[in-house]
Symmetry: C2
């Protein structure tokens, strides 16, 4: 199995069946993506019209292809897909990405077609991602089979398994345009007639490039195997799952989407917990969890400190921490003392940290720097969230001190969030994130991420 | 009482005691804000040094002021505040905003000072906002007493009551720089030794400029009166509350913040529910709820439709709706039929709406426009969330159709969210929001807002 997956993840040669000269068509965009990612293997194109697309010669039939290409990407209508696969097998191609929708997820005719596909792949011993998939991505190999206009896909260390096309397409586009982290492998499973979440999970478990796994699933094809695999991998790598179809309304939508029959949610929940899979509920958390895994270590405990420019935020964020399973512990006396030293005498300093009096007395940078280091030093504190209050008039700190502190305390987590001027927040994000410090526009988000990361840490160290 | 509040909200003349020539100091910024907001009344300044600040002559003592100024803003250290008040009363000033912190929220000396203040205001019959307040704002009167560098504050129809300085300061700054809606009145209550949430609520209840009330409180000074007032006003205007100190950790932080002793949370919860106050839990929801009230009517039911470019989003958002107390009802046959007409035959169209096949067949604009109108027409649908998938390569719609539909169906709510390219999302926001259509960067947020607005509608129509 691992060898089969390797053919997808590290193909030495690839053919696009249904290559198109028309910009915007999937059969064109997939080529454009492969080129933009500077794929190092051999790329073949097939289209009956022949000619040349994006500088690459086009074969007018599958029969003209050389023998033994590693991977076939078939971007043809559903009806034409089975024959194209059969033709490819004649040329020794055994691994396929099937882009077409219009199978079991739509109607009876599609279901028939899907059965036909399944019997072909069984008979010929093929391995298939899809159908109804938007492709897969493997940045360490500079390769992608997605037909969504991505351009160069930033390399990262978090991998995704998604029973949907949209993760590896427009959500990935958001990550590339709105965030500073990258991705490692992305499997868009589609209708998963062959390769499913178990295959992908098994591969990623031993993939040295993958340090964390984020999943979106609507169903479990082999639930027992999945739970067994997950039980093992979650002791070594964080695994986070958004399970679509947790409600009746969601299940109804899931049938229309990937023909998936979702299971009773409470049972699923118990099994996932046992298997150490950390469950999330918001789509946005797929992105935020990945951001956390990409830029932070796991917290070794749930002790959090935060410094805010406002008493109300200290109150509300304390409430939030408790709701999220985090703690806001008291500091060791020497660290309280340091906080008191930098603050006016009329403020009683403690955790959480009321930072603005220190910032107004000694300057914004000094206040946040000294305040943040005082709590980073504390043995009960595993993660620190500075809420930076940013306006030009009240003073913008140099953000280097945050980068320096992140390096000085590598086992502790620093997550930055903001208040006040939007433009300053965006400048701060643009400075800090390429330097490895994550920022979050909403003040709740760092705590949501911390909660997910801490639950992963707990899962990793759960009793056997 | 209403007359007293009017002195704060519509002062004809104002004096700043502790005016400062030094940019960045609170005693300077408050003047700068008053000027930036083009306050139409008379503005006096007092500082022992005399001279001129920002073009305004400075009186060197309170004794030199004319008689009967409506409102005194005292920006002096805590110790100097009581005497300044006494001096002001000699000149017939009876209404004050007290900016200084350093009272009961810090230590015993502060508590003594606060007691002294209370006895002065009782003896002299004064009305006071604060101490430990960052001021108040009244955009219909072009006035603010905040000392946080805001500049011109955008006028709106939602008013805020906040037992914290940060709402009317840096959170307001965020609203002004990151959003397109404005505010009406903002009361930063501080330690509320005199004017409290009841006074403010009573005023806003009959304030014709205020259409919705958003509150942050850490304690109830007069709980019974508050619940009685709220019971009445919530039948006419939405009232939303974030109650800080819902947990022990939060309560501990609240004592340090405003010396507030928070009450048992479950009891509070029941009383608020009876009074029709809609409770929220995230600080960010203070902003999002205000955005909803500013740009949308209340939904007359909980029926939601959304169109997304991805089956997974349809599934996850269906789950989310159910969790949020919203419904995803079936459409009337003629509306399903319209959706089917614009879509390829292999997709079974229904609510929620899988819009991308129509968008790829007929163009992004046509797909979203026709898809959105088909569901807006439906009697079971009260709110519609188009999830716009935006990249230049897949095509950017003209957003006018959304503005047009919002005008054509004024009783229905349209909330826009996004997927894919961050830059395109920001352009869309910049186009739609000044034209009255709210947008939200995270796909969960429109549903969170809808849930809050629908709960307000329910509260307004609850049985007596």
């Amino acid at each position: 199995m691992r060898e089969d997956l390797r053919q997808f993840v590290e193909p030495r040669s690839v053919v696009v069946i249904g290559a198109s000269a028309v910009e915007g068509k999937p059969g064109h965009e997939v080529i454009s993506n492969i080129l933009a990612n500077e794929y190092g293997g051999k790329l073949y194109l097939v289209n009956p019209k022949g000619g040349e697309i994006l500088g690459i010669a086009v074969h007018s039939s599958i029969a003209q292809l050389p023998e033994g290409i590693d991977l076939g990407i078939i971007i043809l209508p559903a009806n034409a897909t089975p024959q194209a696969i059969l033709d490819c097998t004649e040329k020794g191609i055994h691994h396929f990405v099937l882009a077409a929708g219009g199978f079991a997820e739509v109607d009876e005719h599609g279901e028939e077609l899907q059965k036909k596909l399944i019997s072909i792949i069984k008979e010929k011993g093929l391995r298939v991602i899809g159908p109804n998939t938007s492709g897969h991505t493997s940045t360490p190999h500079n390769f992608t089979s997605t037909f969504f206009p991505e351009g160069k896909i930033r390399r990262g260390k978090v991998s995704f398994i998604a029973q949907t096309g949209n993760f590896g397409t427009h959500t990935l586009k958001y990550i590339l345009t709105g965030e500073h982290f990258g991705v490692c492998r992305v499997f868009g499973l589609g209708n998963k007639i062959d390769i499913d979440e178990c295959d992908a999970l098994e591969y990623l478990a031993d993939d040295p490039e993958t340090t964390a796994i984020v999943m979106y699933l609507e169903s479990f094809k082999r639930p027992q195997l999945f739970m067994a695999l997950a039980s093992e991998v979650t002791r070594r790598k964080p695994v986070v799952l958004l399970k679509g179809g947790a409600t009746d309304a969601g299940r109804k939508a899931a049938v229309a989407h990937t023909a998936a029959l979702a299971s009773e949610d409470r049972i699923v929940d118990g099994l996932l917990r046992q298997a150490g899979v950390v469950r999330i509920y918001d789509y946005t958390h797929l992105i935020l969890a990945a951001k956390g895994f990409s830029m932070l270590p796991l917290p070794k405990g749930n002790g959090v400190s935060f410094s805010a420019p406002s008493g109300a935020m200290l109150v509300v964020l304390s409430d939030l921490c408790i709701r999220m399973g985090l703690a806001v512990p008291d500091l060791a006396p020497e660290n309280n003392r340091r906080l008191q030293e930098i603050s006016p005498p009329y403020i009683r300093m403690r955790n959480p940290v009321d930072i603005w009096p220190a910032a107004t007395t000694h300057g914004v940078e000094f206040g946040y720097r000294e305040g943040t280091e005082a709590v980073l030093r504390d043995p009960n504190i595993h993660a620190v969230v500075p809420v930076l209050m940013l306006t030009r008039k009240t003073g913008i700190p140099s953000y280097d001190f945050i980068v320096d502190l992140a390096h000085k305390y590598p086992e502790k987590l620093i997550l930055v969030t903001f208040s006040a001027d939007k433009e300053c927040m965006e400048e701060c994000k643009a400075y800090l994130e390429p330097r490895g410090v994550p920022t979050f526009p909403d003040i709740e988000q760092p705590f949501e991420v911390l909660s997910i990361l801490y639950r992963c840490y707990q899962a990793m160290h759960r009793p056997r």
